[in-house]
Symmetry: C2
Subunit: 486 residues, 2 copies
């Protein structure tokens, strides 16, 4: 039986060597990890199908995304841009007194414990976004595997760790452990410098509280619950009702709705006539097994409560098998906005293929209703007609979410430079960060400034000779003149 | 009596208008605030002298620093660099499927509660670094004034708020409140989006816990305790013992040692012969009143405990006046490293003009001793001879502090682009950030991405026309090709 101390100390032992790699070398190790996953593709996909019930095309796409993500992070690391090197030249005439030579860059925090998600066995699991960004930042990673796909997790860990080590990473750079108790023990271990998590609000809050309660608190990046409000204007509906119905149906039913960005509450004008279109679009969706027993239970409870509170637009099938897993097809209900305002406790994330159409009247003030009903979400979406002014809704969205979408659907989160996957509580525990996209790397770094350190003793990226060729932003002497005058 | 709700709602009402100002306009408001403080200089200095006991030259310098800091932040805001605008062009050939147009920038978090410090009545108080960086980020600020200088705080608030408003800031952009209970109530108010604090570890931890325990947790940036280890090599001492003694004396006694970067534990080789030099350098230091009664009590207790545990190098005066304030001159004691290792509980921050010389033997492993004795600090300093290899000590320093200094002293924190004022717990509650320098602004921002939003509905900095002229980093279509190949 592996103990938390053994695992944490192994990660700690790897930390300085992994942190010290030159960008090109760390980038090469990330590419090696990506290539090894590609080489093991068919074995990994088979394991994932068996353990998760997700379909082959979805799993193939997800593994591709995971591999591409590693190569993207590899490219980012290779540029050295994430080090954010800043150099203040010494300035004897500095307005506040002689300024010393000061050079700052970002260094890895140290070992990270990453609690994997059930719903993305590749993209938010052992080799997923949190792992990729922490490794890219220069931190060893311990993944607490999700109990929904334990064998896949072990195999991913073996393949990835072997590739990293063969490319020069120290042993212990990537480890996989099992069990919530061990995960919690690791989160509280003094050697652990940060935590990340993707999952439910309840577990995420418990872990965030544990991280905050440590003798030495550490940053904890949890991506938790999100209802992802969508607003459809009357004019948008007049313009393209059929497109909106089919888009909604696809976004609610894809991956059996088990996505953190699934649209949960969709505002549509009274008399929208979408019911038939949506029901028709959902008819063909095959029965799908939900990922875990607890997701199944949560889904059944939430679905029943909201069906009872509204009118069924399309009541999907739902049966529980002998193993306690639900097999479901999508359900959509409609509820008048006025009723939700009377019973705001009805607003909750139902994880699975389920959505609520919130019917509003011409007199309703949508942003006021939204203010009353919603906390933070990962996304807010607006469907408008061409040229329609929806500034108020977009502004409300920017105030309550990390991503604001027009005329599209929130599922499908591209891995890019400009991506933002976060949002105010309860979407995340710390909304100053993102868990998807290249900016995710910054979660696992802190800055260190070197004052008056001779060139030969400076870390490579801070030296004038700049042997790693990283971007260096330089503040020249003499710049402070303007700060002394009106 | 002002209530927390009134204050919070006033800040909330100011938030969107302050956030919406163009960079040039917010920059102008910050300059106006700086100019108003300059215009009120003599009145403010008089108030500060009366309330804090700090000397006029120190206060003049500190007010200058505060004013310069506002102008520096004004310049930073004007560039738009802090918005970190990233644009992903739509890419139909993106490797993971068609990529939408995605544009990301950083937006203000919302109202910030800033708990002011006692030891810097200007630089870490009403118009100090936390306030300046939060205002620059676009957040309204509520300052919980320190009880050590209440009248100065009110007057600073009046002058600064009037200047901001006259330059176009909405009413409520800057408010000052008094009392710890009201401060705590505000920290827990739903309208507050972040907290900042400079002060003791005990109070800082209490506030951090309160921020983490909210129904919706918020980031809390506390700058707490620091012992700021200094390592002097034998060769450095051989080279310049007198300089080191006088530098240490000045750094320990400046502002009566009431600085978060005061060197607390200074490692010197056995047989160093510094005692006489240090005692001589400290003889002329006049008696100084400590800032508050609680600092006085803490100082007396810590000083006595450490005097009892070591040998006095120079035992300064210390008397408590009828009001409960201590009047002190500097004290330095020496303690063998071996004794500290036996009694590590002796390592603590003694806030005031006090330092410990830690005497090590030629066989001692300095980084191993430091590992055993110290958690995080704001600074680590190394004094070495010219050309001496002290890589191990510098690396240890980078792992335990936000700033690593060579051949200098940690007091005196320049306000610049490359500055880092932070460090692992207990130096700060969240070591991914800095509380001094232009990077401090980022603490009060989160990112929002806009997906497929038409040009005329995009926020100004994300538009192709770029009316604010901010830096835009652009990822072109076609870049993903290399992520699909080995």
């Amino acid at each position: 039986m592996t103990t938390a101390t053994e695992v944490a100390e192994r990660a700690e032992a790897a930390a300085s060597a992994w942190a010290a790699l030159a960008p090109a070398d760390r980038a090469r190790a990330l590419r090696a990890m990506a290539d090894a996953l590609e080489a093991a593709r068919s074995e990994l996909i088979d394991l994932a199908r068996t353990e998760t019930g997700l379909g082959q095309p979805r799993l193939e796409g997800e593994l591709t995304r995971t591999i591409v993500q590693l190569r993207l992070f590899s490219d980012v690391v290779a540029t050295g841009h994430d080090l954010d090197v800043r150099i203040d030249d010494a300035d004897p005439g500095f307005i506040l007194g002689p300024r010393p030579d000061l050079r700052r860059y970002r260094v890895p925090l140290g070992p990270v414990i990453n609690f994997a998600a059930s719903n993305f066995p590749f993209a938010f699991s052992v080799a997923g976004g949190d792992t990729a960004s922490a490794l890219a930042a220069g931190c060893p990673v311990i993944v607490k595997a999700h109990s929904g796909h334990p064998r896949l997790s072990d195999r991913m860990g073996e393949v990835a760790a072997a590739a990293l080590e063969s490319a020069g990473a120290p042993p212990g750079t990537l480890q996989v452990v099992h069990g919530q108790a061990l995960g919690l023990e690791l989160l509280s271990h003094p050697a652990i410098a940060a935590g990340s998590f993707t999952g439910s609000t309840g577990i995420g809050r418990m872990l965030a509280d544990a991280a905050a309660a440590r003798p030495a608190p550490i940053p904890f990046y949890g991506e938790l619950g999100s209802v992802n409000p969508v607003f459809v204007t009357r004019a948008a509906l007049d313009e393209r009702a059929a497109d909106i119905a089919s888009g909604l149906a696809a976004s609610v039913s894809g991956s059996a709705g088990q996505l953190c960005t699934k649209p949960g509450y969709v505002f549509v004008p009274e008399g929208h006539a979408l019911d038939g279109l949506i029901a028709a679009a959902l008819t063909e969706v095959p029965e799908h097994r939900l990922l875990t027993r607890s997701i199944s239970t949560g889904y059944e409870e939430g679905r029943e409560r909201l069906i009872a509170a509204g009118e069924a637009v399309r009541e999907g099938a739902s049966r529980v098998d002998d193993d306690g897993f639900s097999w479901v097809t999508p359900t959509v209900v409609s509820i008048p906005a006025a009723r939700l305002l009377e019973r705001p406790e009805l607003v909750e994330e139902v994880f699975g293929p389920f959505a609520v159409l919130v019917e509003y009247s011409p007199d309703d003030d949508l942003t006021a209703i939204a203010d009353a009903l919603f906390e933070g979400s990962l996304t807010v979406t607006v469907h408008a007609a061409k040229g329609e002014n929806v500034r108020d809704l977009l502004e409300w969205g920017a105030g309550h979410a990390g991503r604001v979408i027009m005329d599209g659907w929130p599922t499908g989160v591209s891995v890019t430079y400009a991506q933002q996957h976060g949002g105010p509580w309860p979407a995340t525990t710390l909304d100053v960060s993102t868990s998807v996209g290249t900016a995710a790397l910054g979660r696992f770094q802190r800055a260190v400034a070197y004052q008056s350190v001779p060139q030969d003793l400076l870390p490579a990226p801070l030296q004038d000779a700049n042997p790693w060729g990283v971007p260096q932003r330089r503040a020249a002497a003499g710049e402070s003149t303007s700060w002394g005058t009106r």
